[in-house]
Amino acid sequence: MPTPRGRGPEWAQAEGWFASVPAYRLASFRVVLAVATLIFHVPKFNGFIRDYVSSEFHVGPALGGLPILSPVAGLALPLLHWVTATGLLLGVWPRTCAWFLAVAGAWVLLLDPEHYSHGAQFHLTLLALAGCSTDGVSLSRLLREDEGAARCPGWPELLVRFQVAIVFFYAALDKVISPAWGLKGTGLPALRMADHGPGLGLVQRANRALLHVIPGALSVGTILTEFLLAAAAVVPRLWRVGLFAGLTFVVSIEFLLQPGLFAWDLLVAGLVFLPAGDRSWKMVYAPGCGACRRNRAILSRLDWLRRLQWVICAERVPTSAATGFAGMSTWWRLRLESPRGRAFCGLAALRVLPAIVLPPLIIALLVARFGGEFFTRRGYGPWEDLPFLLLGAYLASWLPEVSRWWRGDRPLSAATGCAHEGRVEYP
């Protein structure tokens, strides 16, 4: 059904603060946030605690009257961090776990000004907002195929969106007034840029040069993007453009600056802007085809947002004909139909799937990024570049299509991989 003009995408039609929304979005948000907490936040904050307890000298806490960390608390808190982050991941008392992590984290953050970072503050805020969610969908339920009917109050999602808007609005406002940014961008060359391995290091050197050549343009561009993202977070009409601009912005700051968890937390917060529970993508399959069964077994476990609907196109397909029926003669027997009825087959379907199974994909990238950093720090090479290499491989999969489009053979929109398949009639 076409979306009424001016109201934004269909999935964004909110019905007030206390409207019921699909629970899978908040559950996915919580699980991905828990993974980020386990692989980055908990080790970092436990390090703060260890250093704090083993040092004799301390400056006063940032907030007067805040109790300081005793040796006993210094022993117990790291353990509780691991336990509660695991609880958050699995969905065992998730609200208690999220609030515990948020409050304990705020305490550690305020104990010493050197513990502070904007990224940590944002992560703790997201944990507190995850603690407001009553989705009731555990990790094991997310991984199981179900009817996709779970719903919950949507106000925690609204709070996450407002939080994203607040962060981007103040970040942009600060850059307008700050003497280092503004129209001239004189402070931009002072940014501490990340180091990358061979290949990507070359791109980074080009970025460094660009910061010296056109700092003003980059400053104004950043400010405008941040204002756009702030507006897009609260105006559903701008969500589509906001998601595209947000993803580009997040990838850019992660590549340029690698600001710890901040860029990844923005990506996690972006999950609450996605459609969920609509089963609007049709995955065509035949129970008699082994590859189709394998696809279903894998993809239904990754479809946390409940966007895929499994449509049987033929009950029984003889093995000899398994490659000959509609849509199934393609690579990996993949045929996917968009909510607007457009079909994608084989590699083209594989290229679309990341947009549908985004939460587990973010987890895989998070593990690649911070697991890679673990190896990089131990001198095993630039493994932290792995997410960018995966992104590069994904973009490279588009190269044949771009080449055909460049030669004028066919437009990019026709790159569906289903050119000779025709339309599937479902029984």
């Binding site: 970040a171 600060d174 280092a180 901040f262």
Partner: protein, 128 residues
């Protein structure tokens, strides 16, 4: 919501003049190039050479003595940094009571406030 909107605003704009200032808890990501500096922690007696501070890791983790350390202050100000180091050497001097002078030498490398001298020395005498 009120806290999330109000606190950064009050942090960012000094009341009642509404004058802008960089503030920690105000979502001011990357808006200020944090000062780069080098610190050296050591102890000395009279005109003698600089010596390493014994058991420096007992006092503060992550610092070494007497070799210099290049550091970066993304989220705290120059004054906060100097105050922290002054308190640190005072604490060590008071604890050791060995007649040495405990010194934190700060050399600003870049992006520090314009009114600061390039080198600052913070000293604390330890009475026997």
């Amino acid at each position: 919501m009120v806290v999330q909107i109000g606190v950064p605003f009050v942090q960012k704009f000094e009341l009642p003049s509404l004058k802008y200032r960089w503030a920690r808890y105000s979502w001011a990501m990357f808006s200020r190039p944090g000062p780069r500096y080098e610190i050296r922690l050591f102890r000395t007696r009279a005109e003698g050479p600089s010596e390493p501070i014994p058991e420096i890791r007992r006092y503060v983790r992550g610092y070494r003595s007497p070799d210099p350390m290049s550091l970066y202050a993304p989220y705290w100000t120059e004054d906060e940094l100097l105050d922290r180091l002054a308190r640190l050497v005072t604490h060590i001097a008071r604890d050791r009571r060995d007649g040495y002078t405990y010194v934190a030498e700060v050399r600003w490398l870049a992006y520090q406030r314009a009114d600061l001298p390039l080198r600052t020395e913070l000293r604390a005498d330890s009475a026997r």
